[in-house]
Symmetry: D2
Amino acid sequence: MVGQRYVKMLSCHPYFEVTALTGLSSVGKKYNEVVRSASEINAGSRFRRRREKQNTVGDLIVQPTRPEFLDVDLVFSPLPTEAARTLESRFAKRGLKVITDASPHRMEPDVPLIVPEVNPDHLSLIDWQRRSRGWGEGFLVATPNCTVAGLALVLKPLDELVGIRKAIVATLQALSGAGYPGVPSLDIVDNVIPYIKDEEEKVAQEALKILGTADNHGVHPSQMEVSAMCHRVATTDGHLESVYIETKESISLERVKEALRIFSGIPQKLRLPTAPTRPIIVTEADDRPQVRLDRDAGSVPGMGVTVGRIRKGLDSRSLRLTLLSHNTVRGAAGSTILTAELMESQGLLD
Amino acid sequence: MVGQRYVKMLSCHPYFEVTALTGLSSVGKKYNEVVRSASEINAGSRFRRRREKQNTVGDLIVQPTRPEFLDVDLVFSPLPTEAARTLESRFAKRGLKVITDASPHRMEPDVPLIVPEVNPDHLSLIDWQRRSRGWGEGFLVATPNCTVAGLALVLKPLDELVGIRKAIVATLQALSGAGYPGVPSLDIVDNVIPYIKDEEEKVAQEALKILGTADNHGVHPSQMEVSAMCHRVATTDGHLESVYIETKESISLERVKEALRIFSGIPQKLRLPTAPTRPIIVTEADDRPQVRLDRDAGSVPGMGVTVGRIRKGLDSRSLRLTLLSHNTVRGAAGSTILTAELMESQGLLD
Amino acid sequence: MVGQRYVKMLSCHPYFEVTALTGLSSVGKKYNEVVRSASEINAGSRFRRRREKQNTVGDLIVQPTRPEFLDVDLVFSPLPTEAARTLESRFAKRGLKVITDASPHRMEPDVPLIVPEVNPDHLSLIDWQRRSRGWGEGFLVATPNCTVAGLALVLKPLDELVGIRKAIVATLQALSGAGYPGVPSLDIVDNVIPYIKDEEEKVAQEALKILGTADNHGVHPSQMEVSAMCHRVATTDGHLESVYIETKESISLERVKEALRIFSGIPQKLRLPTAPTRPIIVTEADDRPQVRLDRDAGSVPGMGVTVGRIRKGLDSRSLRLTLLSHNTVRGAAGSTILTAELMESQGLLD
Amino acid sequence: MVGQRYVKMLSCHPYFEVTALTGLSSVGKKYNEVVRSASEINAGSRFRRRREKQNTVGDLIVQPTRPEFLDVDLVFSPLPTEAARTLESRFAKRGLKVITDASPHRMEPDVPLIVPEVNPDHLSLIDWQRRSRGWGEGFLVATPNCTVAGLALVLKPLDELVGIRKAIVATLQALSGAGYPGVPSLDIVDNVIPYIKDEEEKVAQEALKILGTADNHGVHPSQMEVSAMCHRVATTDGHLESVYIETKESISLERVKEALRIFSGIPQKLRLPTAPTRPIIVTEADDRPQVRLDRDAGSVPGMGVTVGRIRKGLDSRSLRLTLLSHNTVRGAAGSTILTAELMESQGLLD
């Protein structure tokens, strides 16, 4: 799912051009055929930056996911977990710049885990990573789990405003988060599955790393506490998350809404192509955000996170809210492309 | 939905016999025709206790919901909120015993709000209610909101074991909870609605009343705190609830599971007809309870609440769990019938 | 649903500008508020042609559906059936040009029933209608039922190629076809409803009128026979129809595909704004068209009808195929707007 | 799915007792564990007839699907197609009696393809099969495709009444028909797939064999013609089929309904345990049968086929109707068990 999203989002990109695609069972076929069959997972994608456009992605022959033969500058990797574990560092070792939304390397101390609006400064870890791993031009940068991408974005301005002590998150996650073929249909019609393997642990850990402070020796995680309860529901795209938050300071709901509304980061300042004008959209409607109605929110569709139902918790230092973010855009391909754009703007891809 | 559930659950009941049905737009029709059209809500049901069976509910003519003409001993009321507000007390005033799962009177200080395994002693409020209201033989007993019925059942043994300080509940509620026609299909296909009117307030208030202490002056609510975040999802029956719980004492997950497993109440002791052998079923499977697979759990189908995913919270005094209870059985008709059985066994229906 | 689709499709239209909106329970509110609540049906829309754009539809105050007060040139009517029956002719009588996708007047002999690529010549009935009804400048033009719009488009080139004797149609229709709130969610989760009131009759009758021949005395219906079996399924938008066709002449599947592929009409010749480059898209994939994947097909999204699974029937003079058309675009608002564009190009709106 | 249905339906069976289960990836595990994981397909089941009950199916260890080691009298086989093709005849060759609902052998001329109420006399092919194959005590009997089981049952009394010339069938088939994991959820949410591999061919061929005449040289297929258009929809269980039928004689709808209502066969005469009192249930409701409401119809739940919407076709020698049959009960396990009961009653299992 995410591989296809990459190709779509990069099809007319002003910075990057897709020049190579890799896969497993689809090797040797044209990308067009692989998409049509809808039963192939694109295991990896590689891109060369160029200004001049050639609309021929559909004709690219899918290659095996091996670094030896690829003539590219930058690798976008939505590899499945096990493949990512072994293959991604092989690419970086060969001098390739790798940006991944796979999970295996996210929590390694010298790997930046980036939400572009939240912790762009963590990219400074790249220097340390290169030195310590001896990878020359190559490096590995990660984007977070699809559930964390939206959550960290929303927690950041709240933490700055009132200091978050604790966040209890309940998620209602879309089917595309499990890839393809993913969840069997018989498991989800008229049903909810209150379990997604390893998801709750990832949400807790990754959020704290992203919201933490980076220096030369890695990331000092945020001191807040995050606990998650994750559910799979019968939606195609869009993760909905309801969060109970306890804060250090007293809360004014109006100031909370204002802080969310005006939040923006370097991607907005630089007007990066995949940066939405406003990363967070606050809705006052009683019954929003809703998955089907709001998942494509944002001036770049799917890059805007919608927050609604902002209301009091049990006391003056707690609040409840519901957020919705598109899991394969803001939660995967979109985040990674925006990270690449940010790095390009900082000269990190030269 | 609930009216039909009543008729079904009472169709071969050893204590009660349905002798009158009331409605609004279906008045004058046979119950059989109303059910077949599937577009009528049975606004009220009335029952006379008798030992000898006559299987003729289908032939009963639906009457208007007025107390004047009904020759019954006991009234089961699944009336819509506004109708319940005005009509239920009119029935009680006429000397009828009313057990309701409608919401308007639940929080009144002299109205017992009963989960039969949890707070059967609150039925003592009936004396005070009769005296203060001057209703003679008539009275009003309520059962809780469909979400609270399962929740209170699970919180009770936990509170006794480790003392609950705080419960943060996220619910994924079924469509039948909204009645019929209820939620338009276009609102729920590939969607989640993070809002159910007044539901979060009811969950918080009613749980505390049920878990509180009754004396001659009403109910002292429990000192725990409960906060809810409610979502409507595309399931037909069965409310799933994930709960983050903070406790006074340290938790052993094994002792928690044991306490839930062995929990039982007076209905089990008396082997009441609608009492499941075990009110709480603990599952060790990673991915259970699931709505479609577990909603009919229990030796009386739908009366057993399944609890799973019992796991640590952020520290030794917190835990997370997921529970599932059938919203129109344990959460409505089943609870009310079990309450009536309990009252019958205590001579309160004589 | 259709009213909102109109507003969306006309929001940047080169010929027409929305200058008035009418409704029932939403009267007096701004259109923006009505849309947000998502519980209002826009009962009628009125438009004045202008070149210069003012993007203020959201600020229009919804008015009552009465002809007296509206200063417009052209009325697009997606009124509910009963309202359309009485109101539409009142508008025409006042001299307004009315294009409707409501059903009551479709089969009247002097009312053109138009699929713009199929029978644009039927617009000649307008003269006769004006004379016989004495409506001055006003008239009534209809577009067909949402199921017929796609069906007639596909039958037309087949009829020309091999002569259709009989078409047996089975439909799988989307929820939006029933309007809002329409089908209750409890009726459609894990379910199919094999009945849509009056739909099978409409499909049979309207198809024959559209594919018939118009002269000064009305329409001589096509001599083919059409029979329909209609089903409601749990999809949001997009009607899928599988058709068994018996023909006068022997069939070559390749020639059938070719005839469908190259079919086009006056709207394509004139490059009308809402005309898709190709009205029919033929797919060779085994398992297409699929509702979610193909409903937005066409260079104007939703205006292209996808045909697939073209295969033999029981003998050489029969074939089977499956088609998909977007029910609120090609089947309603899109068809009507395209009809208006066609009429504008022919001077019929002056 | 079907394997589990067998175990359930045979758990208290008066004739048969499950004494062996076989599988592939589940070999060596207890059946209970396999069911719980819900990710295993039970590849084959074997049963020994006994009067005395031992409820220990859950404790049976799943064995490999090889005939050598099994001490059973009768084999029920819901094997996947490819496994069935090679394994089933190996079992029969070893002298085992095999009743299969897998597809590979259904159309072989000496294999009876049985719908117990429709063509019990086709069991006479067993003699010929044994002689020609030299299998001694062993033999192979098949039951039809899940779509054909209900269809053939309904066509039989109609054919006897008015002579069927042609049946055009459109199916809306449930997800469980594709086994587990089967259809990926992302393929079916808000979608319909108008293609099921090989299904349309099976429906046409198998119906004609079942409705044909058996003699010593095989089966002379029925002279009627059947053509199918098959669709997968988002329902869990229950295949809905709408049929357009052309007949030799003029039709009275009342006589058609009567013929369907009173239809019964040897299984009803013998009151076999899995035979429903009435194999066909005729409904007069406009909007029935519906999948969720009617799939468990019948005095043996799921063995009754519901027929509704019986209405005229294009002329007096055609009609339309909709039928619903439970695909894993009437369409698989139930049919096969009923066939075994029939054979037992005829001494064919001795």
